[in-house]
Symmetry: C2
Subunit: 208 residues, 2 copies
Amino acid sequence: MSRTIRDGAHIDVARSAARLFLEKGVAGTSGDEIAEAAGISKRTLWRYFRSKESCVEPLFARMSQNLAAKLQKWPLDMTVERFLEINYDMSKIDAQEIEDSKLVVHLIARLEEEPALLEPWFMSTRATEDLMADVIATRLELSHTDFEVRLCAATVAAAMRVIDETISRAAVKYGQVPTVAESNDRLAQAIRRAATLPFCDPVTPRGR
Amino acid sequence: MSRTIRDGAHIDVARSAARLFLEKGVAGTSGDEIAEAAGISKRTLWRYFRSKESCVEPLFARMSQNLAAKLQKWPLDMTVERFLEINYDMSKIDAQEIEDSKLVVHLIARLEEEPALLEPWFMSTRATEDLMADVIATRLELSHTDFEVRLCAATVAAAMRVIDETISRAAVKYGQVPTVAESNDRLAQAIRRAATLPFCDPVTPRGR
DNA sequence: CACAATAATGACACTAAGTGCCATTACCTG
DNA sequence: CAGGTAATGGCACTTAGTGTCATTATTGTG
């Protein structure tokens, strides 16, 4: 990103912030505490983040980027279902990433009690939307600024958000942890149904 | 709402805040200025709103509630297209409401330059989502907490948001003001395409 | 390697957002 | 009119967030 800021500096802070938020609530956590827990000065914290709540955004962003990285490799001649099925797991060998996922799931599960977390969560959904717009535009050979593409990206991102919220709540509050295959299946179904453009099916590069 | 707070006190503040935000930007407007412009004390302002940005929420909310009021009267045996066509305008005789709409359109058109306004805007979308969940649930005789209903409400609300953003930007930045009929048509189409459940078509109360 | 340029950080003072507390005022009820 | 409750205002206070500048780390260059 920038020239010399250590890669991962922001997400390290995000992890500290997330743990504090989960432990003591957003209102019960001060910026100073986050800075101290992350081992940076107060001043640097506010250079990294525009607000206390936004400190957790890098965690949400990582999930998006993760998905993005996968979707980059989605072959044009494959359905979403098949693609997600094949890609199920694979990359999730990193222990850090599993830990991050847990934090994210707990944060999402707490959205109702912690409305302050809604802002970063919605910002993340917005980022996912942009991401999906690129994916859709690429598959259908359209511009990512095209109205139809924006519309489709918005509905799909919204569907993904609902899936995330549903699964996270079920996991944290009712202990219903689905298998990765189940989650992916549910996600694929929701994406397909939410889509307003046919990007979920195989597409043919040149042909009309 | 509450026992003695004057009805419309909040939205009056919202109007003052919106005008100031549009004139001098969010960052360039202080809470004190908003309070002064609205003729209330600083202290009361912070009792009304949790943050500076959220001051404009009642304006967004009014648009949602407006739509909600209409949708309450959506007959079960009518399509969205027809319903919106029939309801096009009608209620918009109130001068105040036209003024409010203008403010909202300008606020939405400025979302890119004023990311601080994204939070209240997303909150409003969330409210619309809840609203649509009720409409969908009623039409399909389901619970508004049902996963399928939530999913559909989310995609539809997202579509409505994109329409609002598109139309507002086009109007403010390129002077392309569509007729009410055009807007409604576009809205109906987007809703229908975004929907994951068949609530846009006539539904039969008891049957099946 | 040394040195200059530039980017990142920290320290500290400062502004402004937002809260706690309590006295005062408006409103509703009997 | 009296008395209870809800809303407001004033003021002190906390904390989120910024401006400024000196210091330190990093990178590129001869």
